[in-house]
């Protein structure tokens, strides 16, 4: 055999091994990266500029903007109010997203396995995924009432098609040489699905989640806006407050939504990094 048999690690003259002190210094540098001005200064500058512009806007257009101070005091005066409404919107969004995900994934498996179904479903799915489905919110409210129902249904619907399209593509993303290797050992369709197709689809699953988490918030909020006054949720807060001209409350709710959306996006990215450590991106 031409190469080492593994009993003794081969010497590796091409690797420069740093001393413990050097290693510690490097680790410290990597960890304190965030503290260096070159890292955070551009972002902070932009936020300051935007804040100043906002204050100018609040003076010039008092019916559109509220001063940041007012918004902050609304938030601090009654955090419980915002928290409970946030939880309502969040649970609508997540339940809808969960239902949409399970249904879309199941259909994607059928679509990827059965060509006839694929030819029927995929064109329709593409059309519906570019249709602004949130527009049917008022109809759903009429049909399903003012409770959780229409919000969850709308969110599920809005999330369904992007997930379906992405996952159906991902399940078919197994390179043909790989399929050939496993077909020559007569792997069953279920085994191919489980060991090859589903793992290969994971990058596509996460791509769709990045799209769909923000969409789920949009779905929930639009449904609330269409059924305001009788239910909870940040959309209802916005609807009620804007009809009473309480601009600071409207903006406070929007800021909370922005923070919530960012948090969800960050969580998806974090999960993606853990699950897809093998993927090059």
């Amino acid at each position: 055999m031409t190469l080492d048999s593994g009993t003794q690690p081969a010497p590796r003259p091409h690797l420069v091994v740093p001393t413990p002190e050097q290693l510690a210094a490097r680790r410290l540098r990597r960890r304190t990266r965030l503290l260096r001005p070159g890292y955070w200064l551009p972002f902070v500058l932009l936020v300051v500029v935007l804040g100043l512009a906002w204050e100018v806007g609040a003076r010039r257009m008092p019916y559109l903007f509220a001063p940041l101070g007012d918004i902050a005091s609304v938030l601090t005066e009654d955090p419980g109010y915002f928290l409970s409404n946030t939880l309502v919107t969040l649970s609508e969004a997540l339940v809808g997203l969960g239902i949409g995900f399970v249904a879309a994934f199941a259909l994607a498996v059928v679509v990827s396995e059965v060509a006839v179904v694929r030819r029927a479903v995929m064109p329709v799915a593409v059309v519906l995924s570019v249709t602004p489905l949130v527009a049917i919110a008022p109809l759903l409210v009429v049909a399903l009432g003012f409770g959780m129902g229409p919000k969850v249904v709308l969110t599920a619907l809005v999330c369904f098609f992007p997930i379906l399209i992405n996952v159906a593509t991902g399940l078919r993303a197994v390179p043909s040489p790989v399929l050939q290797v496993y077909r020559t050992v007569a792997a069953s369709r279920l085994e191919v699905l489980r060991h090859l197709r589903v793992p290969a689809s994971l990058p596509y699953v996460f791509a769709s989640l990045r799209i769909v988490f923000p969409l789920s918030m949009i779905g929930a909020v639009v449904a609330e806006l269409s059924a305001a006054g009788s239910a909870d949720g940040l959309g209802s807060v916005i609807q009620v407050a804007s009809s009473q001209n309480r601009l600071a409350t409207v903006w406070a709710a929007i800021f909370v939504l922005a923070a919530l959306g960012s948090l969800l996006f960050w969580l998806v990215t974090l999960a993606e990094r853990r699950v897809l450590h093998w993927h090059e991106s």
Partner: protein, 259 residues
């Protein structure tokens, strides 16, 4: 296989004869290379043998079974040109997965070899738990070869497995392939573009010509084994290379005349 013929429907609805009148008997335990210009149906032939496609005429038997039955019984190991590893599994995971699918087909009497030892033997001992992305091209292809050999197949099919590798890696891998093969003595069908590769590895070289894909010559390589690096410079080796080169030229000019 006897009188095998395979047609492909083309874009203009005419039929392309990918393979015509292929008659070939491969003795169990021999190493057979298939060589020929692009488009002569070498890869199609492998797909027919392994039951991925069916012949339009003629009959193929593998150890007395149809190709499909042989695949069900896990008689085949396949190494494609690209390593075709699963990027989310470690080297060891990639090598063991074929054992975990189609368990019914796994012959009980054929005990599962020590895959870790096999990987160590080809120099992947330190990479057992690495992901394919962390490996070089040669290491990936070694993993793919162990994945196929690890099945202890009756028939090993290799489709230009070293085509994408540099010359040095290629020769090192040929050596390892021969060593693994000496241990198992499976029947090997090896598709290649390289004349010296075919001569070095094979007991028998099958020369094919395109349009329609057919066998034009079969050359027996009667060189002693084991065949090490030194053999590559011997006069006998060169004589075989020349003979094969001449046979390939004939095959190619045949194709020109027909088309």
């Amino acid at each position: 296989m006897h009188g095998v013929r395979r047609l492909y429907e083309q874009a203009d609805l005419s039929e392309l004869v990918a393979l015509d009148d292929i008659d070939l008997t491969i003795e169990p335990g021999t190493f057979v290379s298939i060589i020929g210009p692009s488009g002569c149906g070498k890869s199609t032939l492998l797909r027919l043998i392994s039951g991925q496609e069916s012949a339009d005429a003629g009959r193929i038997t593998v150890c007395g079974l149809t190709p499909k039955e042989a695949a069900e019984a896990k008689a085949f190991g396949f190494v494609p040109q690209s390593p075709a590893l699963l990027p989310w599994l470690s080297v060891l995971g990639n090598v063991t997965l074929p054992h975990r699918v189609n368990r019914r087909g796994g012959n009980r009497d054929r005990d599962r070899p020590d895959l870790e030892a096999m990987l160590r033997e080809v120099g992947l001992g330190e990479s057992l738990h690495k992901l394919p992305a962390e490996l070089s091209g040669g290491m990936k292809q070694r993993t793919a070869i162990v994945r196929a050999f690890g099945l202890r197949p009756d028939v090993l099919l290799l489709d230009e497995p070293f085509g994408a590798l540099d010359e040095f890696t290629r020769e090192a891998l040929q050596e390892q392939l021969l060593e693994l093969w000496e241990q198992t003595r499976a029947t090997v069908v090896f598709v290649t573009h390289s004349i010296s590769e075919a001569v070095r590895l094979s007991d028998k070289v099958v020369v094919m010509a395109p349009r329609p894909g057919r066998i034009t010559d079969v050359i027996d390589i009667d060189l002693p084994r084991p065949r090490h690096q030194e053999l590559l410079t011997s006069p006998e080796f060169h004589a075989y290379e020349l003979a094969l080169r001449g046979s390939l030229r004939d095959a190619f000019s045949h194709g020109e005349v027909v088309s």
